[in-house]
């Protein structure tokens, strides 16, 4: 008994880097299923991309579309906690930031916080942000007048020691 156990254990330990767990499943079966899963991911991603375009065209046509994006200034150590946006006095977006979201923004990711429809012309944007800069809490507010033209209106709200609005 002892010999058997020792032989099995020894073989198991030495072969660990070269073998895998199959638990009764053949390698081909596992591979085949994995490929099918990848295939369905591809299909669903294609549907998702088409749906996004359809949604944009249907719900937010370029003539009336306005999208607000939030980013964190490069090199700043600003950490947003929460944000609220009013468009023409009406609250259209509010968001409380998670650690992951803050991290993503500090690395250059941009959050789309609002997409909606407005008429052409001037519109008032009120932005309030609570956050931390160099460890101390800060509350910032700013007002901006956006001018909606024929094409989609993209506005970037860049957070840092001050709020900077960039009309794209």
């Amino acid at each position: 008994m002892m010999k058997k156990i020792i032989t099995v254990c020894s073989a198991l330990i030495l072969l660990t880097p070269l073998t895998c767990w199959s638990a009764g499943m053949s390698r081909e079966q596992i591979k085949g299923l994995d490929e099918q899963v990848q295939e369905i991911k591809k299909d669903v991603l294609a549907i998702s991309a088409e749906l996004q375009l359809l949604e944009e065209k249907l719900l937010y046509p370029s003539t009336s579309q306005v999208s607000l994006f939030v980013s964190v200034a490069k090199g700043s150590n600003y950490i947003p906690d929460a944000m609220q946006i009013k468009l023409n006095g009406k609250k259209v977006a509010h968001h409380i930031y998670s650690f992951k979201e803050v991290n993503a923004m500090s690395r250059g990711g941009v959050q789309r916080i609002y997409t909606g429809n407005i008429r052409g012309g001037e519109h008032r944007l009120d932005i309030s942000v609570i956050g931390k800069s160099s460890g101390s809490k800060s509350k910032q507010q700013t007002t901006y007048t956006l001018n909606k033209g024929v094409g989609p209106k993209l506005v970037e709200i860049n957070l840092g020691t001050a709020i900077t609005i960039k009309d794209r």
């Binding site: 767990w21 949604e55 941009v110």
Partner: protein, 651 residues
Amino acid sequence: MNTKVFILLAVFVSSSVIAKDSADVKKDLFFSEGLYYAYQEQYFDAISKIDAELGQYYGLDEPELNSLHFYLNHAEFSIGDFELYYRMHNRAGRAIKSVLEGNVEDVIRNDAAYRLAKIYHQKQQPINALHTIQRIKGEVAEKIKYDLELLKAQIYISNAKFTDAIEVLESIESETAVAGYASYNLAIAYIGNNETAKGILQLDRAGQVNSSDKAVLAMRDKANLALGYKLMENKQPERAAKYFERIRLDGPFSNRALLGSGWAAVAAEKFKQAIVPWSILAKRNVTNQSVQEVLLGLPFAYGKLEAHGKAAVLYGKALDIYSKELANLDNSIKSIREGKFLEAVVREEFRKDKNWLINLRNLPDAPETHYLMQLLASNDFQESLKNYFDLDDLGKKIKSWDGHLDSYTEVIGHRRNYYTPLFPPMQEKFRLLDSRMKLRLAQRKKIADRLNKMLIAPRPDYLAKVNERIALNNIYGIEKKYKTGKNSSSDIDDRISRLKGVIQWNIETEYQDRFTEADKNLRALNEHIEELDRKYRSFVRTRQAATQSFIGYDDQIRQLKNRIRFASEKIELLLARQGHFLEQMSISELENRRKRIEALQIKARFSVAESYDRAVKKQQNLELEKQKQESLKNKPESKPASEKDKPEGNK
């Protein structure tokens, strides 16, 4: 270490991509939005957003004017890169092409190629892994420099290119970044290359690596364990014991080390020494394979020490434990067959936790997970489980999209009902205004052309005022009347000529002023024309937007619904298959463990009987000896006990 490397890589690749975003280049908000999701490890959303953005970019007439143009290479690379993270490395070569042929810096591309090779290696596709790793050329990020070499060596080992592996591993063995791993793999490579003596020596070195890193310490333990069992196999238990003793008592290999240590002592016939490690091991979690084995080993050692009574009790205890564990395993197999295991593992709260795999051990409704830790830690199982999670997520997404499409159809219906009655009268009015507008524009054009011609060939008569034209017409009428009549006289002719001359004088002398005035008026008209044109275009756009808000979607929505339905059915099928796979893997593992316990149980039954026999026999011998001594002492007259009075062994 693997997780660490992945995180570091992710940070590196991402920061490299972002480094391109200099202030003078216009930021592409939609691409950056994709990155926002990628940095949160939401790769599906990231791929989908960047895919949609790329699709729009390629559909543009002048894509070079789009802000994505400046990030095109990175977007193409990123999408392949994120597909790797989303475990889509097979995707029609897109990910592979993007990664291996991406027009990005060597450092970034090599990073991704390293990950791709690692995926192939983990998925046991050694040839693909080898081809990928061989494509890595140029600069490599400092952070992965040694990990890359280690992976290269492991891939060489998988492809039985032991000499190449040895060459690579020998060059990095002394590097602290891969301490333990390189040494251990070098030993494997030596053994694979039939250099067993060198392999054993190398394992000895790997078993003495100094480090405070838990992963490195685990590798050190693994090397010692491998060496210990190798020496046991070579019938050198005394040497083997030395290596088992090097292994930490709280590490992942401690149970197997304690077991081996005991067997080494037994092989050297030092049974008392075997009792120490085995007693420690016997108190540990009974679901562990080594613990279950030692439940037989410990009484075996006591038996060898002639403590048959103690051995019989321990065999009895082992039998109780085996019976209990067999019942647990049966319940677990039943529970898995009822789908409770999968139900438990797909719970959101577990999946959100980074340590979900470790937490699986504590699933309240799935006690079987204790038995499945080895299986759960295997790459095949983890990949299958991740696929299961992904399919579950995809199924939820698809379901919600179907609902979205229903809402869109409703919105389109409302819009159609609203706009359809408004269009005919509006069109009629527009048609009339349009024809008037066209007429006026034609007139304006004619005037502009005439003025342009007059710059070259002046025509003062064209700029005669209305009253001058009327006066001239009257004069011409009078002139005609007098010329044909009988009342003609030179006096009248002179007067007519004078009048004509006065008007002509004014027209000729005021020509430049009049021309300037006409040009000024035409320019003033341009402003009105532009305003008219703006309104006209605005109207056309609004009408087009209104039309497009409900026309032309039916086919697209119908097709999407069909695709969603088809995908949904496929997901359901794959989810069931993947779930069945996971259950089968788990059941197969549990059944294997069951068979092992059953085998141990049979051995325990025989051993318990044997121990009782020996214990009883020993007791009888003692009693006989005692009686003999007493009879000799008291000069007894009684006869020896008959054969039938002897107690029978416990069978």
